[in-house]
């Protein structure tokens, strides 16, 4: 659509600006303030400049949490994206069963995060959970509260359970938009199933898949509630991801300065990655428009 130049449109955007300024800019300024100051209580602050940033950049605690976070995000993206596409390819195309699957698949998306945690906490317990009990009955030594590997497995399976549907639903919507003629043409050319997927379905899903990957990356990078409920970041620190570590630091120990410096760097990393994705996405949009 050709848009007209009109700077009065700013008035329409104004309400959004006011609300977002109140709920985003003001708090962020507080964070910046903390990151540059030290306090001994009583609201007395001392300027320390970039000291907290230096401390955080070199802290092994941050490095460990960041490493775990990257590993976690990488693993769940590697599982959820292919699995989501596979599920989408197998979904019924229309009719009663299509909406039946849609409704059931959206169900995990609408469960409050801590309830997701609770469900899996119960499900994985050896004494009262179906999963834990079954694994124990099969003779597998499984205990997510003591064994770091089991804790990781539980958190990853939980995330796959929680969010694969989102990828699948997005991919499904992408598939639905492919005109039937494409498939007929492929049939005439006697294209193999793989060729149909590789040269018709995958390119057509590219846009939505990028969004799915972006959303899953963001949300897994900020994951807090679910692993916190299930493992509390333990055993030891083995499932302490960035957000969990941050909340521990800011609200548990009240180390405001380092926590604020940590927050800002955390936010910047996310911004940077999002910007890359956003640029790629808008470029794709433009190519399609041509």
């Amino acid at each position: 659509m050709i848009k007209t130049q009109n700077n009065k449109a700013w008035f329409l955007v104004l309400p959004v600006l006011v609300v977002v300024a109140f709920s985003a800019v003001l708090p962020l300024m507080t964070v910046v303030n903390y990151a540059m100051n030290d306090t001994f209580g009583n609201n007395q602050f001392f300027w320390v400049g970039l000291e907290w940033f230096e401390e955080m950049v070199t802290s092994s605690r941050l490095h460990d949490a960041l490493g775990r976070q990257i590993l976690f995000s990488a693993i769940i993206l590697a599982i959820e994206v292919p699995l989501g596409i596979y599920i989408a390819l197998n979904m019924p195309k229309s009719g009663f069963w299509a909406s039946f699957c849609l409704v059931l698949m959206s169900l995990p998306l609408l469960i409050p995060f801590n309830v997701v945690g609770t469900i899996w906490q119960i499900f994985g317990r050896v004494d009262i959970g179906l999963l834990g009990h079954t694994l124990a009955a099969l003779g597998i030594d499984y205990n997510y509260t003591n064994d770091p590997f089991d804790a990781w497995m539980t958190v990853i399976v939980m995330d796959v359970w929680h969010w694969t549907s989102l990828v699948a639903l997005l991919a499904y919507a992408g598939l639905q938009s492919i005109p039937q003629a494409y498939y007929q043409a492929a049939k005439i050319d006697q294209a193999s199933r793989w060729a149909v997927f590789r040269y018709i379905e995958l390119p057509k899903m590219q846009g939505v898949l990028l969004i799915a990957i972006l959303l899953r990356f963001m949300d897994s990078f900020m994951i807090y509630t679910e692993p916190f409920v299930v493992t509390g970041g333990g055993p030891g620190n083995s499932t302490t991801f960035l957000s969990i570590d941050l909340v521990k630091m800011a609200i548990g120990q009240f180390d405001l300065g380092p926590a604020a410096a940590f927050s800002l760097m955390y936010f910047l990393v996310i911004l940077l990655v999002s910007w890359v994705f956003f640029t790629v996405m808008t470029n794709l949009d433009r190519q399609e428009g041509k």
């Binding site: 130049q5 979904m91 169900l107 409050p112 119960i122 936010f267």
Partner: protein, 267 residues
């Protein structure tokens, strides 16, 4: 043959999705002794005591009321501010529009953990701590950008000639917007409302940080059972089941719009 493998794959996947939920429902219908002493696949001693506990104790059911109040407020606020902004983004070019749009989106990507403490201090200092409106405003952080994004996608699909015709017919902007434009993008408003509802309903970190007694959400109330005289597993499970119900109802009503909303790729 292909039909069959698809059915099997979908069956297995849905089983994987539903099994943990089934287990929660199963547990909510058992007595605590049955949960702890014997391992049963379905309740031997069917009881609704756990639900009765929740529905008769104000400290429990007020959690649901609080959650519903702030979620509703959030949906209304988000849509009210997002509608005009989305219209501006879809119809006009103005100074800094692209930067503004990206800046809005970055707020959707801000980790709530970063904002928890500043929010707490900000809302305490203006006397909004432990009110519904505080949580509703805090959730605007990620819901307003999302609503703008979704609505902009839907509005772009409405031809501009409609606006122009309406103006020639003598409609003023507000009248045109409410009477003509909003009905045209009704499904878009529905999808946006659905996602605002969803993200506000499932969020815990901010809503827990910003409330203590009067506006405490159900999700935060649930963490309480962990400490109270051992673990009341049955009640915990029942509370969990009840948090799933509103979401399931909403999905059922908007099921035909979901696919459409996803199709725009704007979630």
């Amino acid at each position: 043959m292909r039909m069959k493998t698809s059915a099997i794959v979908m069956g297995l996947y849905l089983l994987f999705l539903l099994l943990p939920i089934y287990w929660l429902v199963n547990m909510s219908l058992k007595t605590n002794t049955e949960i702890l002493s014997s391992f049963t696949l379905f309740p031997q001693d069917l009881t609704f005591r756990n639900y009765v506990v929740i529905l008769t104790d104000p400290s429990w059911y007020m959690g649901y009321v609080n959650s519903i109040i702030y979620v509703t407020m959030n949906v209304v606020i988000s849509l009210a501010v997002a509608l005009p902004a989305a219209y501006a983004f879809s119809r006009y070019r103005f100074m800094g529009d692209k930067h503004l749009f990206f800046w809005l989106l970055t707020n959707r990507m801000a980790p709530p953990a970063v904002f928890a403490l500043p929010f707490f201090q900000l809302y305490s200092s203006v006397g909004l701590f432990d009110t519904h409106i505080a949580v509703a405003l805090a959730h605007c952080l990620f819901n307003v950008p999302l609503a703008v994004w979704i609505l902009e996608g839907f509005m772009r699909g409405v031809p501009k000639e409609i606006d122009e015709t309406a103006y020639i017919d003598g409609y003023s902007f507000p009248k045109f917007f409410v009477k003509i434009f909003m009905p045209l993008i009704a499904s878009g408003i529905g999808v946006a409302a659905f996602f605002c509802f969803m993200f506000s309903w499932v969020e815990l970190l901010l809503s827990r940080t910003l409330t203590s007694v009067n506006a405490k959400p159900i999700a935060a109330t649930m963490t309480r059972t962990v400490s109270a005289s051992g673990m009341d597993w049955g009640v915990l499970a029942a509370a969990g089941v009840l948090t799933i119900v509103p979401g399931a109802l909403v999905i059922y009503f908007v099921r035909n719009y979901i696919a459409k909303g996803f199709a725009l790729g704007r979630v």
